[in-house]
Symmetry: C2
Subunit: 299 residues, 2 copies
Amino acid sequence: MEIQKLNTFIELAKSNKIKTLVVAVAQDLHVLQAVEKAVNNSIIKPILVGDKDKITTILNENNININSKSIIDIKDINKAVEKSVELIKEGKGDILMKGSISTGPLLKKVIDKENGLLKGSLLSHIAFFESPYYHKLLSVTDAAMNVSPDLNEKVAIINNAVEAYHKLGIKEPKVAIIASVEVVNPKMEATIHASLLNIMNQRNQIKGCIIDGPLALDNAISKEAATHKGINSKVAGDVDILVTPDINVGNVLYKSLNFIGGADSAAIIMGAQVPIVLTSRADSENTKFMSISLAAAMQ
Amino acid sequence: MEIQKLNTFIELAKSNKIKTLVVAVAQDLHVLQAVEKAVNNSIIKPILVGDKDKITTILNENNININSKSIIDIKDINKAVEKSVELIKEGKGDILMKGSISTGPLLKKVIDKENGLLKGSLLSHIAFFESPYYHKLLSVTDAAMNVSPDLNEKVAIINNAVEAYHKLGIKEPKVAIIASVEVVNPKMEATIHASLLNIMNQRNQIKGCIIDGPLALDNAISKEAATHKGINSKVAGDVDILVTPDINVGNVLYKSLNFIGGADSAAIIMGAQVPIVLTSRADSENTKFMSISLAAAMQ
């Protein structure tokens, strides 16, 4: 199976049992607009945790049609976050979404050892791109959360991304570990990590995917570019997941595709008991809605 | 002044006095094809240093029309490189181009302290992109040469790039120092370097350009994205030069634009007494020709 368009997430979500989306501190216009669109598309059922007065005002002033029975009135921001996490922990919600609160305080509650939602060793960000220059969806991890992951952290980042693919019905995604060259260069840590991750995959220490690396981005994207370099690879030209050496590379790739590459995107945080939707104000309306669809598309 | 299309390099080159292009170890089909195109466009006069028999055979077998009087017959590869560098040093050539030789051995002769061509403290790579998603040419430095430049090396990289713009007639290029965030984060070296380079520009330690940083790529490219973040900047939305934190970021950005961003590009090495054209086999024909045009466009 292969997913070519972000719109496929909507279809997948519709074919799933309807998911419950818990919005933490829901008094945010743009978030509520995206939630309304997801409700109208029959993708999710919302629980809006937050200041009921503020939420109702936003809904009324902007003609947003979400049933006010879905609101749980908690004015204190910290308590609203705690309640949202608790709802997920109790199995009453399938997706967590950030509302009018900074990312830091929200994720602090999520990774809390006692009352949090962390499943593996870390949370990581994965973004899916529909590019006019590639034949299927392409994903990038990690563009937003892990600054300079060490080898073990990269294993966790890959496992999170692979789990996302499995939950979307793609059994063996192709993973490229990106560096600026395709050979081992002991002076470039990215090539050392890539080589080790490659062997870890061959030895079944990382499963459920096909890893190749180190690969430069062109080798990963283009079979022809790989052949020019004499690289024989199952991943080259058909990559699903691009794993970047650090946040600087991930972030520039994410923004290059979105802002100067003609691509549309959707993104989520993996590694918790449920997918987490963190949209930022700079994201387009479509990105916000597609990110909810992505989370709801997961089995 | 603002350059919108790579084709402008051809016009600029034609308006300059015709430049002499010295090709080191010229027995390479793709290089000779690009040289022929540049000759036919009246952009350059070639001197082909290399194995005359091999060069002549390639010219004849592929109907490439370059006057054989332009060949200097030196069979030994090392001596051909030395002769090429010497011609530049003597003022007999205006541009150096790599032929059938690896980059390492060629640049070793270029940076040789006694007989080389190094002008400042280092050589650096600058690539110009014509993207369907940006209103003018955009450049990236350094995607290919300097692995993890320290602060002083970044100053030299910026000076090389700014010199390239000045030689193209653009007096005060706008420079963004890229990081993954737009704020100072002491744990992220890219943001520290960016802040220091920003102040060095304000204090006239780096001249002839307007620097802003740290900026994430979206803030640099898009005024709207910068405004969302409350960034008031002369560079945001109108950047010319993107300076990347390291080669991993530069390389992924270069390849993202070329291979999955719909852009065309031209690239040169700056920092020597003359621009150096290093095309690789994976480059398109157009990139090779445009890189010669870029070098010839410089005053």
